[in-house]
């Protein structure tokens, strides 16, 4: 019987959705190990956060009142100390940019294995079995671990958020933070590139990915966008290459879009891309790879070369 320690996430005054998902995962694990679910919330308005996080299935909430925003030095120390003072075996954190900035350090410090970006978990047997993807979602794998101790980071939006009202004990945890070990300072936040177009407002998006191969070829999809009176957007590599400005990027680190129609051209459908466009009403994918993950999401698919299909499509509207 071991307990589970889950860690909430917030930014600029708001809890992030994945905070409710770590509760769901933590509860499932705790049910399998027969333990309690502890939830940590560190920094910011911890009392208000604790109230919001007190959902069904949470046994204890530990608030660590320390700083406004995320700092991995503080998080690493606080989580490691909470691990030691509870009976926790598993630690569950979001596989977010911030999760990846402290969870591996927590694992190292506590000498625990770390399994990241997990999309399925089972602790009902002797150890832990985690499901994760490899090779850009082309395969799924199961990873086994004999231990009943590990740090697990979970992919967002894979589990339902915890709901209902709980009756967890909320206590302030007086973490003993060694300030000399906190050697990075967050000095602010910056919104990336405002720019001319707001793709999140568009009704129809023609979105282009690495399948376009060359910068000159962007013109081809721009022509299609023009023919459809649509807005041009893209996956990340196009922006990384400097072929389109940052404000055109759809995805986890770009914009979340919800157009009526999203046409994904030469885009594989990596999880970080999908995070930005899965709410589109109708999704059309054009890709030479019939196994591309984008087809799992698509309502309409064309398995063919974009350099043949797109010109033919433009012709249809000319």
């Amino acid at each position: 019987m071991t307990d589970v320690l889950a860690v909430a996430e917030h930014r600029r005054g708001d809890l992030r959705d994945v905070s409710y998902e770590v509760i769901t995962v933590g509860r499932e694990l705790a049910d399998e190990t027969g333990g309690d679910l502890h939830l940590a919330v560190i920094g910011g308005d911890v009392d208000a956060f604790a109230e919001d996080l007190n959902r069904e299935g949470v046994d204890a909430i530990h608030t660590v009142d320390h700083g406004e925003e995320f700092n991995h030095g503080v998080y690493t120390q606080a989580v490691a100390q909470l691990y030691d003072t509870t009976d926790a075996g598993y630690v569950v954190t979001p596989n977010s940019v911030n999760g990846l900035d402290y969870a591996p350090a927590v694992a190292n410090r506590l000498d625990l294995p770390v399994v990241t970006d997990v999309i399925g978990l089972d602790a009902s047997g002797d150890g832990l079995v985690a499901t994760r993807e490899m090779y850009g979602s082309k395969v799924e794998t199961t990873v086994e671990l004999d231990a009943d101790r590990a740090v697990v980071t979970i992919r967002g939006a894979e589990w339902p958020p915890a709901e209902g009202t709980g009756d967890a004990d909320v206590t302030a945890f007086d973490a003993d933070i060694d300030e000399s070990a906190v050697r990075s300072t967050v000095t602010g936040f910056e919104e990336a590139g405002g720019g001319d177009v707001d793709i999140s407002e568009a009704d129809v998006l023609v979105s282009v990915g690495r399948g376009i191969e060359e910068e000159e070829n962007i013109e081809l999809v721009q022509d299609l966008a023009d023919a459809l009176d649509a807005t041009l957007s893209s996956s990340r590599p196009i922006v990384d290459n400097g072929w389109l400005p940052k404000n055109r990027q759809v995805g986890q680190s770009g914009k979340v879009v919800t157009p009526d129609v999203y046409i994904a051209i030469g885009i594989s459908g990596a999880v970080q891309h999908v995070a930005g466009m899965k709410g589109s009403d109708t999704i059309v994918a054009i890709n030479t790879d019939p196994n591309a993950p984008i087809f799992d999401l698509a309502d309409y698919g064309i398995v063919d070369d974009l350099f043949d299909v797109v010109p033919a499509l433009i012709e249809e509207f000319e």
Partner: protein, 263 residues
């Protein structure tokens, strides 16, 4: 100043492939420098170009075959390379983060770098954890998912942007020595010039095994076992258009007209 860049040769999978046990058949794999590490190498080389007396050392964990890929890092400007491998690692299908950290820690002890750059993640296993775990182990400060770096070596600070979700950057000052995990888009990785490729041939790739690093097989035993690999069940309920590009375009055009997208 010395910059250590961790690089990995990753396998890329062809469109059509078959799984054999817990591996993809080698005939369906091609190998390349990990996308994120390419940006890390570029960042290291740019630091060397901007400063006096900066050495860039690339370190990799990989079998002899991976030397081909490591030469890419050398051709792009890294001064020399260290390649860690050991027969005892041969059978491991999943080297866990802890094992990688032990190996890299031993290299850090030998090299004593001021800055370690690694990629945010490797394109194949996508763990995204090695850089931060390594930093904690060697007592360096760190920052994950760095998409802008302004190094002030004299002041001992790296001014970085960390790319958070939703188009927001966190602006952070990180004390050196540090490990930074580098995000794509931070720079524009150069192509290896012919001259660079030629020069790379004469640069050193020092092989190190466990013995050389003062480690034993037990130090790098993996806690994780890859037990299954399968193609995800397709959840696709897409309607497919087929019949060649013209017909496909025609059907898609009809759909778009139906949806009122175009006339």
């Amino acid at each position: 100043m010395k910059v250590l860049v961790t690089v990995k040769e990753v396998a890329e999978v062809e469109d059509d492939f078959e799984i054999e046990g817990t591996e993809i058949g080698s005939q369906y794999l091609t190998y390349d420098l990990n996308e994120w590490d390419d940006y890390a190498v570029e960042e290291g080389v740019q630091i060397a170009e901007d400063g006096d007396d900066v050495e860039v050392v690339a370190v990799t964990i990989g079998p002899e075959r991976s030397e081909e890929t490591i030469r890419m890092a050398l051709a792009k400007g890294a001064d020399r390379a260290v390649r860690v491998w050991d027969e005892s690692l041969e059978g491991t299908d999943l080297l866990d983060v802890d094992a990688k950290v032990r190996l890299l820690e031993a290299v850090v002890e030998e090299e004593d770098p001021d800055l370690v750059l690694s990629g945010v993640q490797a394109g194949d296993d996508a763990f995204g954890a090695t850089g931060v775990a390594l930093a904690d182990e060697i007592g360096f400060e760190w920052a994950a998912v760095v998409n802008q770096l302004d190094l002030d070596a004299d002041a001992g600070v790296a001014h970085v942007h960390r790319e958070l979700e939703g188009g927001v950057d966190e602006v952070t000052d990180v004390e050196l020595p540090a490990v930074l995990t580098i995000q794509t888009g931070i720079n524009e990785p150069r192509y290896a010039s012919l001259r660079g490729i030629r020069q790379a041939q004469s640069k050193e790739i020092a092989p190190k095994d466990l013995d050389d690093l003062g480690l034993s097989a037990a130090d790098v035993e993996s806690d994780l076992r890859l037990t299954e690999m399968y193609e995800p069940e397709t959840e696709s309920d897409a309607t497919y258009f087929d019949g060649g590009p013209e017909e496909e375009a025609g059907q898609l055009a009809d759909l778009l007209r139906d949806k009122g997208v175009a006339e």
